[in-house]
Amino acid sequence: MRAKLFLLVPAAIAAGAGATWLAAHAGADRPTEPGPWLTALVGASLIGCGLASWRARPDNRLGPIMVLTGFVWFAGLLSEATSSPLYTVGVAVEYVFVAGFIYIVLSFPSGELRGTIDRALVGVAFACALGLQVAAMLFGSGAGLRCGGGCGDNLIQIFHDNGLARALLDAQRVVGAVLTLTALSLLTLRWLRASRPERRELTWVMLAGNATLLALAVTVVDDLLGNPLNSTPAKVWFATLALVPIAIVATFVRRRLARGSVAGLVVQLGGPTEPADLRAALARALGDPSLDLAYWFPAEARYVTGDGRPVEVPGADSGRRSTFVQRDGTPIAMLLHDPALEHNSELVQSVCAAAGLALENERLQAELRARLVELNASRGRLVEATDAERRRIERDLHDGTQQRLVSIAMSLGLLESKLAPDQIDAAPIVREARTALTLALEELRELTQGIHPTLLVERGLPVALEELCRRAGLPAHLNVDLDVRLPDQVETAAYYFASEALSNAVKHSHATEARVNVAYDGATLTVEIADDGIGGAAIGPGSGLRGLADRVEALGGQFTVSSPPGRGTRLQARIPCA
């Protein structure tokens, strides 16, 4: 492919030389446009830059289109030829290059026209440049085709109506002016709406393109007003036109230079990196500050953030694009970036290759965090299930066993009242049974209360804690700063925490007094139980404190123990209430 492109070079030189010669040797009695120097410059710029771009990006249509536009530009100079066939062809294609130019600026940087408006604009431009021109040529010749004199013969003239020919050419210029201004506003709008990285891509081409379009509009209006050709606006137009291909190639070259930043990235990743550093380094190398990273989490076959939360792959209309990084065929990471980077996939691929190892490291850590997130969730679910089960058992005992026992108590009461006065032996037995039953009910009551404190559900944490302190085996002072109901699992955790801590204070700390402080700041519930006992408590496996810590941590809370020997024990739980 590249080798074949070189074949175009001699052809371009030949065409350029011919066109320049024609421009230089046009009849002296008429002004020529654009003159030999501009002819060569514009053509060389279009074909040269077109070839460079074609060679660098064979899959981008911009290169071939620029080359083609360059050749059409040279062909237009045939209108200066004296030979009638050449003159005829030259006049017919004289303005086709304008349609090519509009295609180039609108399709940059992908080489594809993006929407109906773009396609319509280029279509109309082509019809106007070639169609109206050929239509005018059917009617006019010489002055009718704005030729000052010494022109060749128009071989496709069928009618003789120079007036109509001129009118058609005027119409061509009016439509051309409107098209030009439309393209100008489109380009400007597109630039204004672009994201930062996109804008950086578009700026140069937008500036050169808009300058050219503006100069073209002025030229066309100037021409319509009857000013002679070879005017200053026309020269400015041709000069800026030569800048557009240069701007395009410059943008492509700068992209290639951006790949130089990959070398910097490699050096940077050589040192130890934090997750945030890696993101920032990649964002810098790619020139996209909005870059986000997500890592492959094989256990759930999806992508997660650095701290383990799930991430969705962006949809086509989300305004974000994703690039997937693989190592040895297994997915590692996903780069979420600006759509502008899509046109620069070489850079993205180089960056991904350079960062592969760092990304793999980061992925392993993200996987670990995702597993932790999962673990915490399952711990929370376990606590929740336990609580639900406790509630169910309490309800079953209340509705079943307790009621049955109470009904037996009633029967006993009835039996006692029915005992005849002479059955004096039976009375103590009934009383005995009643006492035993009362004890059984008492034990059952203690048990159910321990399984699930109904007061907590019915009246909330402060009331339940108040009752807890009342029943505690030591004087317990309660200080509660909480006037809202909190989520069930938070209240339950806080209650069991206080309950266990108070019974520890009695059983293990040999305390004579305890304080229970509860405070809520709108986000976190803090429960603190301090006693004046012997201290020396620690969280060990199998200790009651371990169970407390588990319950608090399952809710994402923190549990701290401060228990210096001889100076009491202070247990604190901080539970988030989100």
Binding site: S407, L412, R445, L455, L474
Partner: protein, 216 residues
């Protein structure tokens, strides 16, 4: 004495009705939930309404709320709340709405028919009843050494507990096998030690004593 019974467990409300009839009460009707009970009370204006604290739909404290509603609409009707839990808080809430003709008993007290009918009668006559388990929780609560309660003698604490249960001086005297005069002496000492304003009214002093016990 006319009595209405509200309990969602059919086995308990029928059993209770039978027991009360056996003890000589006139059971005007039974209700399975709070709404039914309120309707029954409106219709038959009993002397006492006996209500289970935990009833549908939420099975929490519907009975307590029904009791408060009856107190408001029919202040003369005595209310005895039955509970399976020793919740001092609920008992205190109930007494706080007026100690005349209210009671809070554990369900299992129905095993002692004599004690049960005495309690129903007391509530029906405008007295108050507080379950001994609740009282012992309040009296037996651990306090710091410098608490005035610690300065009471054991006998005085016994008297205090019986007062809190809603018993009259006469009943306390019978319980402790002492003369009413001795009971009065103890009570004077208790009120002096705890610095409570002396109230000659058996009913009103319950709240004073309970409030004191709860606050300390």
């Amino acid at each position: 004495m006319r009595v209405a019974v509200g309990d969602d467990a059919v086995i308990l409300r029928e059993g209770l009705a039978r027991l009360l009839e056996e003890a000589g009460f006139d059971v005007v009707g039974v209700a399975a939930d709070a709404d039914e009970l309120l309707e029954l009370v409106d219709r038959s204006e009993p002397d006492v309404a006996i209500v289970d604290i935990r009833m549908p739909p939420t099975h929490t404290d519907e009975g307590l709320r029904a009791a408060k509603a009856i107190r408001e609409s029919h202040p003369s009707i005595g209310i005895l709340v039955l509970s399976q839990h020793v919740h001092a808080r609920y008992a205190i809430e109930l007494l706080a709405s007026g100690t005349d003709g209210v009671g809070y008993l554990l369900k299992e007290r129905v095993a002692d028919l004599e004690e049960l009918s005495a309690s129903v009668r007391r509530v029906g006559q405008g007295g108050s009843v507080l379950d001994p388990a609740v009282v012992s929780q309040l009296v037996g609560r651990r306090r710091q050494a410098d608490n005035p309660l610690e300065h009471l003698t054991d006998r005085e604490r016994e008297v205090l507990a019986l007062m809190a249960e809603g018993r009259s001086n006469k009943a306390i005297a019978e319980r402790l096998f002492v003369s009413e005069h001795t009971v009065e002496k103890h009570i004077k000492n208790i009120f002096g030690t705890l610095q409570l304003p002396h109230s000659p009214d058996d009913h009103r002093r319950v709240l004073a004593v309970v409030t004191y016990l709860d606050s300390e």
